[in-house]
Symmetry: C2
Subunit: 197 residues, 2 copies
């Protein structure tokens, strides 16, 4: 158990160091040395756990997904509309609010690598599918409670996630932040949710 | 006039060479030499027109916008719903259908550079604002003809463009192409357009 906690703590520390290094340097020029500099323990410990930058980033994408699930589980509401709102907000933000824009830009760089790097593509697909299922389930619940119109939950998940994704990419690359209202309008007009406006 | 046509032809040839080189090599490692290899005339002519890779890519983004406008002007219909459909289809595809995925991935790489490169950010913002106005105008027309519900045209442009953007990025990076139905569902449910389904 002690062993397990130690390695889970080490993982957490390496992932935090990766996050900080990514926000500081972006993805393209990032070296294992940059990550080691954000890490309080020895650099060799990073190499012991992750042989290459690619291994480390696959683990990082998986960590983001775990982190996301943790947040979703902690949403303090059973109400589908409130849960959906929280989830879309989470998806828009990063693991922390600091460096949010830098983080999203770096994430975009990693996504642009997906066509060339099988391991990234597989992990990103896993993240996307998982997120899709989470949103579709909440939409399904909201239809059952009568809060949402009777839409196809899978279509709704595709539309909602694509919209939030498109908006946060625009914001990360071009700046501005006035588009949150558009999401509320979408929830209201597309899902028929009366609480959105 | 001859001079003007010659330089407009040269621009067109350089832009086509840039497009081909971009699809072949992606953005990150692309050199002026790679572009010269796709160009039937002398390399010095490229340097005469565009001093740096950055200058050339700003011109390329502007060229994409011109190209897009040309396509939009050529849409053979005055019907707002049909025009919107065509425009969203165009936005989803590249200047040519060949190498479409490679092109979108390269474009994503350029967008990921926007936070660090003022000239890219300004040109990309111009492209985005322009596209937004085009879509908002069509939505406005469709509301006037009674084809669309009375939505806020600016909100609708944000939602529609973000959704298509999110979907094409997912497709370019992760593959798959089943999401076109989601756009039709969105047009139908969000805009109340009865022709979409």
């Amino acid at each position: 158990m002690g062993q397990r906690n130690e390695s889970s703590d080490t993982r957490e520390s390496i992932m935090r160091a990766t996050y900080c290094a990514l926000c500081k340097h972006g993805y393209a020029d990032l070296t294992m040395q940059d990550i080691a500099e954000e890490f309080e323990k020895s650099k060799s410990l990073i190499h012991y756990h992750y042989e290459t930058k690619e291994d480390l980033f696959v683990a990082f994408l998986d960590y983001l997904l775990d982190h996301f699930h943790e947040h979703v589980e902690n949403i303090d509401s059973d109400d589908p509309a409130e849960r959906l709102h929280h989830l879309l907000d989470l998806f828009e933000s990063g693991p922390s609010d600091d460096d949010k824009r830098d983080f999203h830009v770096a994430l975009l760089e990693i996504r642009a690598q997906a066509p060339y790097t099988d391991a990234y593509r597989e992990q990103l697909r896993r993240n996307a599918d998982d997120l899709h299922d989470l949103v579709a389930d909440i939409v399904r619940d909201g239809i059952e409670t009568g809060q949402f119109d009777s839409v196809d939950p899978d279509e709704a998940a595709t539309v909602l996630l694509a919209t939030v994704d498109g908006i946060r990419i625009r914001r990360a690359t071009l700046g501005g932040n006035g588009e949150r209202d558009a999401i509320d309008g979408l929830l209201s007009r597309y899902l028929g949710w009366e609480g959105a406006e």
